[in-house]
Subunit: 454 residues, 2 copies
């Protein structure tokens, strides 16, 4: 075999393929050519211009974060531990109205991507304002992303005249559909309580016409059931069902209060779900019935949500949380196992995003989105079960090297496509402005003192 | 001021004192002399033979882990996601009976301490077999610890003749009481369901005579209520109350099913609590009513529990979990705030262990147990609120330098008192023996395949 057969070879270590057979290969070798996985084998040395030594490491598909609002890193820790409506209406919404602009979105996204790459994420699905800037940042740093143009029936920072949203959205799709498979445009209706039936239906029609995904926050909080019932005389899932917007190209985000009847509808229609356990715990929103969804064959992926409500974009932490919260909620330690959680964070997430033909497992022919996790560390010793170790003991900082679409994006913890110092400085400048404004308004310095709990 | 006034000076950064006033000092300086904090001030340069530059860092008291079983690192990931009784009776108890010995305890403890130091813990409270070996390992690596001799009414690996336990325990106390304030001996009755009333009473009497702490697992699982009611005709806390073993020198570990009446008893008697949220989530044991305990003024500290049931000894992860689990359980985002959680992990833990006159805050006169956390990282940018950032965004790997009793135990992520490669190798050898025995018994290779959940 000639050395020009591969651009990069990952040599050694234990490979978790996350294929349908969940094959685990010891002393593995992965050959990468032209952005794709060209060969998966074991016990052999392959020549290549670039060899990555994975001895003592686990090699696995890059993690897929199915729900983010990247620029919210600029609000990370600004207003925590507050009643939900105070948090939203007194802090987050006003801050967004005032401080969100193209530069904040671009700079914040770059910082969020630095954090995500350094913790093993290779693909994410985002929804926010100025999504064009987010897609440009994605291009600059070489990640893979679904970028969703947002819709709500009120003026937003990027669409002061919301009647013109649809035209802007169509331009957005046209611009980014040509950047497949690195960038996939989608539409995001904020929620059934902030979007009218007409908006929900119109946006779904446009999404169907463009052949793209349609997302909505759904049943994050219990209150939403009352709100929708009062307004439309039915429960949220029936409301969406009757509007005809639920199908296999629809992703419902959160779903903490999905009932058995809702789950049956989702299973029948192939609706997909993004599960964000840490954010929903921090906001005291609820716990999604994920074991029940998986039992019905619903595609479920993991997500971190934005940095204002988590506050980390580390999918390793999210996996640990996902594995544990269902056990304690159901008082059943078998409710969710480590292997299932790693599936949700890889091939499951790919299925949710409709990208499972391209990514989510390490198999010849797929795009090369691969991470190498350094297991030669005290907190990862010993290893009885690699799935357990990744989910319950590893953390984002253990990811050593990351490859996206066959390109090395991080090597030995050094980012290859992002100037980290500059990126952090950019956000600090934005935030020092935000902080100065808050202090000038309130006459109080940060952090605002919070009484101890209890 | 002469340079021999201090052995070490920590210069710059933001100091979270965790004192009663919760003072935060910008551009702080901490002078350390003879193991103690000699000076806390700001905006000045002090000479010393060793200067630690904390610019861009948070400086805070070392974290206190109030519940561990260190040698269980050797079983980390061996048997996860199983029904609780299968886990205990088919995996953990047999493995302990077969593989626990002095060498396993010493080597396992060294690995656990490496992990703990690297993630910011400076003091822990342990209970296991062969606790003498654990105390020796503590001395070797320079951590601070409460080491608890265990009691149960059955033969244990270190006490095949359990009638002789008390004599051994008295020798244990005599040996280690002279090593204060680095090592504090204590007694640990495993639980009200594994210790007879006589054992509970006798051990408490001996603890009172020696003036030492008395610990017990309590109400970890709901079943314990039934078990104790059937056996003794009363609920577990009343059972212990009637035996007279509850007082301010008693630490109850877990307390997931503590009721309002139990909380009132604990508050009246000054009983202290170790809260282990991640372990209790993973074992599907329950969620302790910690906000209610704090409201009644009960001293509550955080703990990780052993590595077989968590599986990490990282107190940063534990803080994040503790802050979030009470919010979602009570559906109230104000149920537990970041500042309160950091208190539980520092001064609160010190109170639980009866060491709050020595450690738990950074104040002149206290022993110098201090960690320096590197905040110049993408996932910790920006900083609005240092408490939020530490609890919700930081992780163990962000701890840069650790000082215990005035000695630098870790500097720039390098351990100063533990040979990490040797320590990991020692545990790997032990585990390859365990694995070989398991495979030889079962004829199956590890990891045992687990069906996907759902």
């Amino acid at each position: 075999m000639q050395s020009d057969h591969f651009d990069i070879v990952i040599q050694g270590g234990t490979l978790l393929t996350m294929s349908a057979k969940m094959e685990i290969i010891e002393d593995a070798v992965v050959g990468i050519k032209d952005g794709r996985i060209a060969l998966v084998d074991k016990n052999r040395n392959l020549p290549a211009p670039k060899i990555i030594d994975a001895d003592g490491c686990l090699v696995l598909p890059g993690l897929i974060n199915t729900h983010t609002h990247l620029p919210m890193v600029c609000f990370r820790g600004m207003a925590d531990d507050l009643p939900l409506m105070d948090w939203l209406t007194k802090h987050i919404f006003p801050a967004e109205a005032r401080f969100v602009n193209k530069k904040m979105v671009y700079d914040g996204s770059m910082l969020a991507m630095a954090e995500m790459i350094l913790s093993g994420t290779t693909t994410f699905c985002d929804g926010y304002f100025f999504e064009n800037q987010i897609a440009e940042a994605v291009q600059a740093c070489g990640m893979r992303a679904v970028v969703s143009q947002g819709f709500a029936d009120f003026a937003t920072p990027d669409n002061p005249k919301f009647e013109k949203m649809m035209a802007a959205a169509e331009r957005f799709v046209a611009r980014w559909q040509s950047c497949a498979p690195m960038i996939t445009p989608a539409f995001f209706c904020h929620s059934p309580y902030t979007c009218s039936p007409q908006t929900l239906v119109n946006v779904k029609a446009a999404a169907r016409e463009a052949g793209i995904l349609y997302l909505t926050h759904l049943l994050e909080n219990k209150d939403e059931i009352d709100t929708i019932e009062k307004r439309y005389g039915k429960k949220p899932v029936w409301h969406l069902f009757d509007l005809g917007v639920l199908d296999h190209q629809t992703i419902a985000v959160h779903c903490n209060w999905l009932g058995p009847e809702d789950i049956a509808i989702f299973a029948d229609l192939g609706v997909r779900v993004s599960h964000n356990p840490a954010s929903s715990m921090k906001l005291a929103a609820g716990v999604a019935p994920v074991p029940q969804m998986l039992e019905r064959g619903i595609a479920v992926g993991l997500g971190t949500d934005g940095s204002a409500s988590n506050n980390a974009l580390d999918m390793f932490r999210e996996m640990d949380t996902a594995a544990k919260i269902h056990k304690v909620t159901m008082l059943d330690p078998t409710a969710m196992n480590a292997q299932t959680v790693l599936c949700m964070a890889t091939i499951g997430g790919a299925r949710v995003l409709g990208l499972d033909n391209l990514i989510g497992s390490i198999e010849a022919g797929k795009q090369a989105d691969i991470i190498v996790v350094d297991m030669n560390q005290p907190h990862l010793t010993p290893i009885y079960n690699p799935y357990s170790q990744l989910v319950y003991a590893a953390r984002g900082a253990d990811v050593k090297t990351s490859i996206i679409n066959g390109k090395i994006i991080m090597e030995e913890r050094r980012l290859q496509t992002i100037d980290l110092t500059q990126t952090m400085d950019n956000v600090r400048k934005i935030v020092s402005h935000i902080t100065a404004e808050i202090i000038s308004d309130t006459g109080r310095s940060l952090p605002f003192p919070v009484p101890l709990s209890g």
